[in-house]
């Protein structure tokens, strides 16, 4: 198969099996020599950007795995800002803007608009969405 450009969109929280499948798919895509234009986190997927998730030591820490994966490969991980605000996922700038006591977005994540999803789709060969259970 020729090299493909993928945009991935994740709609489920890091506690969901869908989040794990998305990560395994992303790993396999890069391992297969394909490109990931952007990973867009929408709806409950925005919880993946929270630095405040605490996972018991004997359980897989998907949020941590996502962050490590995105950092290691220098990927463009974008969190939908409107979906994030509604769910209490805020970076420093948004916490100040709305006078909230704490920012909880881990470093390496960009909060931005839905236009970023569309822009990535325009630059990609395939959009692959992961969500639900």
């Amino acid at each position: 198969m020729a090299t493909m450009k993928f945009t991935l969109a994740l709609f489920s929280a890091p506690t969901s099996p869908a989040s794990r499948r998305a990560l395994r798919f992303a790993e396999a895509a890069l391992a297969g020599g394909h490109e990931i234009v952007r990973i867009f986190f929408y709806q409950e997927g925005v919880h993946g950007a929270s630095a405040n998730l605490v996972t018991p030591q004997d359980e897989p820490d998907l949020a941590r795995q996502w962050q490590d994966f995105i950092t290691a490969h220098g990927l463009d991980g974008v969190v939908c800002i409107a979906a994030a605000l509604r769910r209490g996922v805020l970076d420093g700038q948004e916490a100040r803007r709305y006078a909230r006591p704490a920012a909880n977005v881990a470093s390496g994540w960009a909060l931005s608009g839905l236009g970023q999803l569309h822009e990535a789709v325009q630059q990609s060969d395939r959009l692959v969405c992961f969500g639900g259970p």
């Binding site: 198969m1 020729a2 493909m4 993928f6 709609f11 099996p17 869908a18 499948r21 395994r24 798919f25 790993e27 396999a28 895509a29 391992a31 297969g32 394909h34 060969d125 395939r126 959009l127 692959v128 969405c129 992961f130 969500g131 639900g132 259970p133």
Partner: protein
């Protein structure tokens, strides 16, 4: 090949599988992942429903999800890993995940 449909909800008490089968064409594929692999349970209504898919439409299931649930798949199901999933996403024209 046209659309690769991806299901992850259990087909019991959920209408996604039924609606997906309505939308499918002979050139489409259906990938069962997560709890959607319970549709492979022999003797169940979803298992019978899978047989009503258009002739020629391919059926796939994520091998890890089938194994995790102690299910088995018939000869008409291709069990796939993630590298194959990526390959299919490229072979089909589009991927339609039923979120």
């Amino acid at each position: 090949m046209a659309t690769l449909h991806v299901l992850s909800h259990s087909p019991f008490a959920d209408s996604r599988l039924d609606s997906c089968l309505v939308l499918m064409s002979v050139r489409d594929g259906l990938l069962l992942s997560g709890d959607a692999v319970y549709a492979l349970q022999p003797g169940s209504a979803p298992h019978a429903a899978l047989r009503t898919r258009p002739a020629g439409a391919r059926l796939y299931a994520l091998e890890e999800d089938v194994r995790a649930r102690a299910l088995s798949a018939g000869d008409d199901v291709e069990l796939i890993d993630y590298p194959r999933f990526v390959e299919l996403a490229g072979e089909f024209d589009r991927v339609n995940s039923w979120l």
